[in-house]
């Protein structure tokens, strides 16, 4: 691993991706400058801001990609969040650092669910969120998510009533370690299964109409006389209460 490490840095030094007309020295200096700028900031720094500060004509994305490679096996990594960059500690060192972590306010299960729906279904209106969950969003949930800075009002849907739509922010991506929304876990599968559409897709696995719905299909298990108690929905009353 030692040698790989160093080789990759050394290889980076060759400046293979230097933009046309920009010499190797400028590219290397641009790397140092970008490194300093991003390192100095606790929040992601956009490529636009970097472009304003780096030497003219340097391909910012190429500089950052190379820096990212330099840091890939170190204790600190360079991460991209959409078109911004930030240094973060390597995830495998979490054990070393999280004992100092400030206990963050925990979001309720409902709030997390609303957050996930906003992330996967965005832009999404409040009515749509409620339709997916089948329950009214309790007061304060959206408010709390807006306050975390992970959720924002995006605009309005061009339908009657022009309802406000919600979406996620770059802080959301940064917090969950996502480069972009397309990296949401399982996004493509869910899309493919039609589970991100507001309505039931016409090709959704409609069960073949049973001739006699009272008769179990081959792949159905008979319902044993499941006790609701067993399901944990009713608990026997404790004796000593």
């Amino acid at each position: 691993m030692t040698d790989d490490d160093m080789t990759s840095i050394a290889a980076g030094g060759e400046g293979a991706e230097t933009g046309p007309g920009v010499d190797e020295l400028t590219f290397l200096e641009a790397k140092r400058m970008a490194e300093a700028l991003v390192f100095a900031s606790a929040t992601p720094v956009s490529e636009k801001v970097l472009a304003e500060r780096l030497p003219q004509g340097v391909d910012v994305r190429a500089v950052m990609e190379e820096l990212k490679r330099d840091y890939s096996s170190r204790g600190v990594n360079l991460n991209r969040v959409e078109d911004s960059w930030a240094f973060r500690t390597a995830p495998d060192l979490a054990f070393l650092l999280n004992r100092d972590a400030v206990q963050q306010k925990k979001l309720s299960r409902a709030a997390l669910e609303v957050l996930a729906i906003i992330a996967y279904h965005q832009p999404v209106t409040r009515a749509e969120i409620e339709e997916i969950r089948g329950v009214e969003t309790s007061k304060g949930t959206l408010d709390l998510l807006l306050e975390t800075g992970w959720v924002r009002m995006r605009g309005r849907r061009r339908t009657p009533g022009r309802p406000v739509t919600y979406g996620t922010t770059p802080e959301f991506l940064d917090h969950f370690g996502l480069e972009e929304l397309g990296d949401l876990p399982g996004l493509e599968e869910l899309k493919g299964a039609g589970l991100l559409s507001p309505r039931m897709p016409t090709n959704f696995s409609v069960p073949t109409p049973l001739s006699d719905p009272g008769v179990l299909a081959d792949d159905e298990d008979p319902l044993t006389d499941i006790d609701l108690e067993e399901l944990g929905l009713f608990a026997p009353k404790a004796e000593d209460e």
Partner: protein
């Protein structure tokens, strides 16, 4: 070593499933039933259905919707018998499931333009699957390497690198909270909360829209709603006021209504303007 570390980092995953609420929630205000019921532990009827469906231990697309409907209705009836107050959402779902059950069990009459039991069952499965998918998404999100828990930013930042043009810092959320709080402070907000005694069928229908969408066709749903929403002695008034409310909705174009014969079943379906309940889904 790195591998070992990764394992340790992921242990922080929060358990998402909890059937039982916090102790102080579970034992509130139950007079003397023999059972403690935890409806508070559920996030609405779909959540409850999802729990019941899981107990069937098969893939969601293979569950017996009929059995599921029966279990749900059974559960609701037992809660009601225990004289516990249930949120209207649960009751409306029970009414819809009772209707679904009747559609599944009774042969489909000729010239019937009501949704078939199978269509309704498929819709329910779709909604359960969609919600379950989001549950899984939550689990996957919270187990990612999260900033401030598993990965950390520079502890001693040296500068705030910002684009030149905004030396001032404020978010839309800051702006809106400032505005709302200020306007609210100035408005007199000493309004009493009106205690709701009976859920009107109009309200029930709005809940239904949230629960099953606007796609339902001619349905004699009110018969089912009445059964779940009101006590026997309140039924006559509920029916009368709901009929009046229905006519109002018909006038607004939000509802269509029909009756095949005198004293026959009253059928309802969404009207052309019903989309306003659920504008986002109308024509996206």
């Amino acid at each position: 070593m790195a591998e070992l570390a990764r394992g340790a980092g992921n242990n922080a995953a929060a358990p998402l499933e909890k059937l039982w609420g916090e102790p102080e929630v579970a034992d509130r205000g139950v007079s003397e039933p023999t059972l403690t019921v935890d409806v508070d532990g559920f996030e609405g009827p779909l959540d409850l259905l999802l729990h019941l469906a899981r107990a069937q231990k098969v893939d969601l697309s293979r569950i017996s919707v009929l059995a599921l409907a029966e279990q749900y209705i059974d559960y609701i009836n037992r809660v009601r018998k225990a004289r516990l107050e249930l949120a209207a959402d649960y009751l409306v779902m029970a009414a819809w499931l009772a209707y679904l059950k009747s559609r599944l069990l009774l042969p489909k009459p000729q010239n019937d333009d009501q949704p078939s039991g199978e269509e309704m069952a498929a819709l329910l499965q779709f909604r359960l699957k969609r919600l379950e998918a989001m549950r899984d998404a939550v689990a996957r999100l919270v187990n990612r390497n999260r900033l401030g828990r598993d990965v950390f930013p520079r502890g001693m930042p040296e500068a705030v690198i910002v684009s030149k043009k905004s030396a001032f810092q404020a978010t839309l959320y800051d702006l809106l909270t400032a505005y709302a709080a200020q306007r609210q402070r100035r408005a007199i907000t000493n309004v009493q909360i009106a205690k709701r005694h009976v859920w009107s069928l109009k309200q029930a229908r709005e809940i239904l829209t949230r629960l099953v969408g606007t796609t339902y066709d001619w349905t004699p749903l009110d018969r089912f709603l009445i059964a779940f929403l009101t006590t026997p002695e309140e039924r006559a008034t509920a029916r009368a006021s709901s009929f009046a409310a229905s006519l109002e909705l018909v006038r607004e174009g939000a509802l269509e209504i029909r009756q095949m014969e005198a004293f026959g079943e009253i059928y309802l379906r969404s009207g052309p303007k019903a989309a306003k309940f659920n504008p986002g889904l109308a024509n996206d």
